[in-house]
Subunit: 224 residues, 2 copies
DNA sequence: ATCACGGGAATTGGATGCAATCAGGGCGCG
DNA sequence: CGCGCCCTGATTGCATCCAATTCCCGTGAT
């Protein structure tokens, strides 16, 4: 019988909801996260909220100081570069592994995401947000397809940063073109079981993004 | 003023104690982790124990099935190879970064650990356990010295596996010699600020260990 | 005016109570 | 004799309660 829903615990649901609110910016950096109001808003008690906050602290999305409460972590240019440095390490490796392991549904979804991204464009803000979402799923599929639980765990321990930081990519025409092209090449590489090429494409993709980021950061000092 | 003690919460203390017991094998794979007995043994209540268990699940050391309890995770050869695959990715990168960032106390401690390891040998079981401990600290110092919070996080998300699996290294003379030599070369590389060489040594070190592991696994099917 | 200090409110970490769920065993039925 | 179902005990997950700490603000001294 198909498992309807996910019979998981309340703490994990809260964790997911709070993570989403932090990544979208609904809960901005610096926002205090007091247990009682959150519990009330999310229809539960302080205990699961507390567990969720501890997990999010582990993910690097919130700072907890014992006895003093939790706040949404603040991110700066250094964080962004640090994140991309680690992504530039992990994801090419993941792409290489994925090339010999990814299954048909995964490939199909990647191709679909490419098509969606091509079609969606970046006309308005909503379109840009969709692009960020497509991109996230694309990269996550590849890391998952690498078939290494620990690589997944490493990526999860590192992946989160408010999405606002990423929008710049999709607003820049050259960068968007590069991304779409790389994604297409990646699908080809994975489909053709070419691990070396997949790795190389992914490396180009992320190094390119990193350098673009560096430029942007230097230009407008810090306005995500 | 020097912060005496660690003003941390109880849940983290429990987490550390349980992690240690799992890594040393005091809590063997498959052992059920019921909240109440643990709470009593660790002089606290079920709440912090529960939080600790959730965190350890995130580290991959325990399995939690909602409503059914927690057990110490079982590890197999595939886990070990997966772990070393990711270490082989992360640690050379960390070594390269550390070469331009590590400070004098860090270097001094690394040299000290080398000396201790040389002196300690591997005569009896206690000596082997000490070697495993020295080795753990050596590698952790380098990852920390890389100065990348996310690289540290990635490593922490991945690092745990019962120490029994690692003892084989230090019982094998050739392998122990290789390890000691590489560690010495690493100290030289870091001290001389030679990032490329540090990376190369670390890569050799871990690939060597991985291949040794593969051999051992094939030999005696699965007896850590 | 600034700063140190004290007291009360707010808030967290931890302990405990309670309902829901799961395991296990005895009973009835085929 | 084997199989499945219900009932009971155990255990979790969540809600609530309590103590300890921290925050905040007003007061007074310098």
């Amino acid at each position: 019988m198909a498992d309807r829903g996910i019979p998981t615990t309340n703490a994990f649901r809260v964790q997911d909801e709070l993570r989403e609110e932090i990544l979208t910016g609904t809960l901005p950096p610096g926002a205090r996260l007091r247990a009682e109001p959150l519990a009330e808003r999310l229809r539960t008690s302080r205990t699961p909220v507390r567990e969720a906050l501890i997990l999010l602290a582990r993910e690097g999305l919130v700072d907890i100081e014992p006895r003093r409460g939790a706040v949404v972590r603040s991110f700066d240019a250094a964080d962004l570069l640090d994140l991309y440095d680690v992504r530039g390490l992990i994801e090419p490796h993941a792409a290489r592994r994925a090339a010999t392991r990814i299954d048909a549904p995964g490939l199909a979804r990647l191709a679909e995401l490419c098509a969606l991204a091509e079609a969606r464009g970046a006309a308005d803000d909503a379109a840009v947000e969709d692009q960020v979402g497509f991109n996230e799923e694309f990269h996550r599929i590849i890391v998952d397809a690498a078939g290494s639980p620990r690589l997944e765990a490493a990526m999860r321990a590192v992946a989160g940063i408010p999405r606002a930081f990423r929008k710049a990519f999709w607003r820049d025409d050259a960068q968007r073109e590069q991304s779409l092209f790389c994604h297409g090449q990646l699908v080809d590489a994975l489909e053709g079981r070419r691990p070396h090429f997949a790795e190389a494409v992914m490396r180009m993709h992320i190094v390119g993004a990193t350098e673009f980021l560096t430029e942007v950061i230097h230009d407008d000092a810090d306005a995500p």
